[in-house]
Amino acid sequence: MKNIITLFLQRIALGLGSLFAVSIIIFMAVELLPGDVAEALLGQSATAETVEAFRTQLGLDQPALTRYVHWIGSLLSGDLGVSLANQREISELIDVRLSNTLMLALMAAAVSVPIALVLGLLAALYRNSWFDRLVNVSALSAVSFPEFFVAYILILFFSAWLGWFPSISNITPDAPFSEVIDRSVLPVITLSLVVIAQMMRMTRAALVNLLSNPYIEMARLKGIRPLRVIVYHALPNALAPIISVVALNLAYLVVGVVVVEVVFVYPGLGQLLVDAVATRDIPVVQACSLIFAMTYILLNTLADVLAIATNPRLMHPKG
């Protein structure tokens, strides 16, 4: 048991380590600029004095290390800095948008994970049947489509032609819940389709890969029914890859919202990031990137920890 705890701790330490490395990269990205942020933002026409004043305002006159420590320190105390574009507190900008984005991702996850797992399982059970082929070709197509294509097709059908759902999902904080749901349907479907396809394919592949194992043949020769062979004998051994695919796709959901949010004009973090990149509002870009990266690392670490927890060789060591 002691072993397993060390493994968990190692994995968590690794996650924290990556987070630290990522924060440095995000911070350093700005240093790559020819000249510095102040010059880049004010443009060629700015006078030397304005640039200098701006530089002091941004704290650019101090050495990189000091600035990093200061940056990370204020981040940890919840102070994300000030937007260059409109001088507003970034934490204020992010607050509502983050919860909007998380809600969108959560809804998509709630829809897609069960559907994908069940479809993947059924495809593995009835492999090489017409059902399997149909699911496979649809999934392959769904993975191949650009998200904005899927999104616009949904808009075309359900919004422009049928008029069932709005094409713009500009929800406001005080909107009633039913309205929020109504406006989120199309973005959620868009996100789910891509993620379902990916997860379903991987679930099927992870299961089918295992079917050539001798212990599966053994189970069959014990007269175990096909459904139980898949669920009891194959699934527990496929958990690690399936968990990591689910985690990867959940992480993808959070990141993948960027495009979907733009299409549906959904007031989320992705929108904010894209706008900030377009206006080169570096502090906002940094803050958003860090939040996205954090979610991503968190989910991946969680997946690794779960993969260890489902491995009997690690959970029940020899002797």
Binding site: N237, R313, H316
Partner: protein, 546 residues
């Protein structure tokens, strides 16, 4: 036979089975008849590709993916399994016919406890409830002499040793007291000393419950202990069938006789050359991976033109010794000397000339040859690399080498490994080693992946080459018979140490060192009474020592 129909349990009539490979169907089993009475044990023997496993599985009405039964009947207690529906087969499998496979380690599901897998058959088929089944499992574990029968079921497969797992699998097959059990090479993956326990346990339990069995193996000596009657298969056809004792004493067919004769191959041992520095000398070598030390203070020497056999069971460190000599695993302590000159311990620091003189032949010829190169390229590379041969001279030399290993240069020069049989591949590996013109070749279990007849051919070839070229061999093997056949000197290893060594005759003449004696006596003999006799002897010993 007709009047005894009620006694007949299994009646396979003219069965034909095809397998799909290389975009076509090929017949694997070509019309075999097989009858089995209740309580009878039938041995199926044959070399790889004889179709014995396919036939064994077909006795359950089961074919692997990519195989199909095209013709014939499989009458099990009057029901034709060849025509049974998947649902009907599910009801018979596990309950009336059970299966014990070659590798228990791979056949137990790593995700579940042994007991859960054991009771699954009975519970799922409604033969017993979980509580009853668990109680019965403990009884069976006890019957099969598993240690701590009350609790061993709570373990996961990776927590149990190979020999114990194999017995646990036999127990699992017994859980519904089937009429018939198919044993598919159940001891092939085990060490000889472990094999004994498993053989004894299987035989006990099959006898105790009067279960009929089909025992599939390639090992004649093993089948002689287990079966009442033997069927010899070759290329999917029946060669010969008889009662065990009759089959062993008086085989009728040429093929059967040739199988029997393999065991008689023997080379007279050569004396160690006097007044000479050893060609290769390992001095007090210790080595390991990371924190785990595998070799402890190993010393051995090989003289020019001699064969030194290193024998030991899995985990004894014999292959690690080879890796230390080649420099793949640098020794932590001790040294390797070539004609008295120390070699750098890491192969990357050895000169081309030093590398050239030590060559290696591997256990599995399939992975020892790059599938993307032709035979000409494979054998030609050392010639170009070490000796700078090019063009016509190169082609000429490759052809000579092919002739040396008894393969036709015209036919084989441009072939790729996939187009060769196992024995031919191993010959190409030998030619590649010879191409470097070495004075020392390490043969790492070179015959264990091959069928007996093919293996004998390789041994004969190696012996002939040694006589002609004066090359020394370090022959690593787990097989006592091979050592007895070709070694000049023998080194016995156990747990990473050399426990015994000396000239062949001295080693094989009693009194033996303890472990050497155990190893030698565990090697199955063709005598059908061998197992009984051995168990009786050991039983006496045990009672004395306990």
């Amino acid at each position: 036979m007709k009047n005894n129909n009620n006694e007949l349990l299994l009646d396979i009539r003219d069965i034909h089975i095809e397998g799909y490979s290389d975009d076509a169907w090929h017949e694997i089993v070509k019309g075999v008849d097989l009858q089995l009475k209740r309580g009878e044990i039938l041995g199926l023997i044959g070399e790889s590709g004889a179709g014995k496993s396919t036939l064994g599985l077909a006795a359950m009405g089961y074919t692997r993916d990519g195989c199909r039964i095209t013709q014939g009947e499989i009458l099990f207690d009057g029901m034709d399994l060849a025509k049974a529906s998947p649902g009907q087969l599910c009801e018979i499998h596990g309950v009336r016919i059970a299966y014990v496979a070659q590798s228990a380690a791979a056949c137990f599901n790593p995700a579940h406890r042994l007991i859960d897998q054991h009771v699954e058959t009975a519970v799922q088929h409604g033969v017993a409830d979980r509580k009853q089944a668990m109680k019965d499992a403990v009884e069976l574990y006890r019957e099969l002499h598993l240690p701590d029968p009350e609790n061993i079921g709570m373990r996961y497969p990776h927590q149990v040793s190979g020999g114990q797992l194999q017995r646990a699998m036999t127990a699992m097959a017994m859980s519904c007291r089937p009429d018939l059990i198919i044993f598919d090479e159940p001891t092939t993956a085990l060490d000889v000393t472990t094999q004994i326990e498993v053989l004894a346990a299987i035989r006990n339990v099959v006898e105790a419950f009067g279960t009929a069995a089909i025992y599939i193996t390639h090992d004649l000596a093993v089948v002689a202990q287990m079966a009442d009657r033997i069927m010899v298969l070759r290329h999917g056809k029946l060669v010969e069938e008889a009662e065990t004792r009759q089959m062993l004493s008086a085989p009728q067919e040429d093929y059967t006789k040739s199988l029997w004769a393999v065991r008689c191959f023997n080379v007279t041992p050569k004396a160690r050359p006097v007044d000479e520095v050893p060609l290769i000398e390992v001095k007090n070598a210790s080595a390991g991976y990371g924190d785990t030390q595998i070799l402890h203070d190993v010393s051995l020497s090989v003289y020019r033109g001699q064969t030194v056999a290193v024998i030991g069971e899995s985990g004894s460190g014999k292959s690690t010794t080879a890796r230390v000599i080649t420099g793949l695993l640098p020794a932590v302590e001790g040294s390797v000397l070539h004609k008295g000159e120390p070699l750098p311990s890491d192969y990357r620091r050895r000169s081309k000339e030093q590398l050239r003189r030590i060559q290696m032949i591997y256990q599995i010829p399939d992975t020892a040859l790059n599938p993307r190169l032709t035979v000409g390229e494979i054998i030609g590379r050392p010639l170009t690399f070490y000796l700078g041969m090019k063009g016509k001279a190169l082609k000429q030399r490759v052809s000579e080498l092919l002739e040396l290993i008894e393969l036709d240069p015209v036919k084989f020069y441009d072939r790729r490994p996939q187009e060769l049989s196992g024995g031919q591949k191993q010959r190409i590996c030998i030619a590649r080693a010879l191409a470097a013109e070495p004075d020392f070749i390490i043969c790492d279990e070179v015959t264990s992946a091959l069928d007996q007849l093919v293996a004998e051919g390789i041994l004969r070839l190696l012996t002939r080459l040694q006589k002609e070229l004066g090359i020394a061999y370090l022959f690593i093997t787990h097989d006592v018979a091979t050592v007895r056949a070709i070694a000049d000197e023998v080194v016995v290893m156990q747990h990473g140490r050399v426990v015994d060594s000396g000239e062949r005759n001295a080693i094989f003449t009693p009194p033996h060192h303890d472990y050497t004696g155990l190893l030698f006596s565990s090697e199955p003999e063709m005598d059908p009474d061998w197992l009984d006799r051995l168990l009786a002897e050991r039983g006496n010993l045990e009672s004395v020592s306990v």
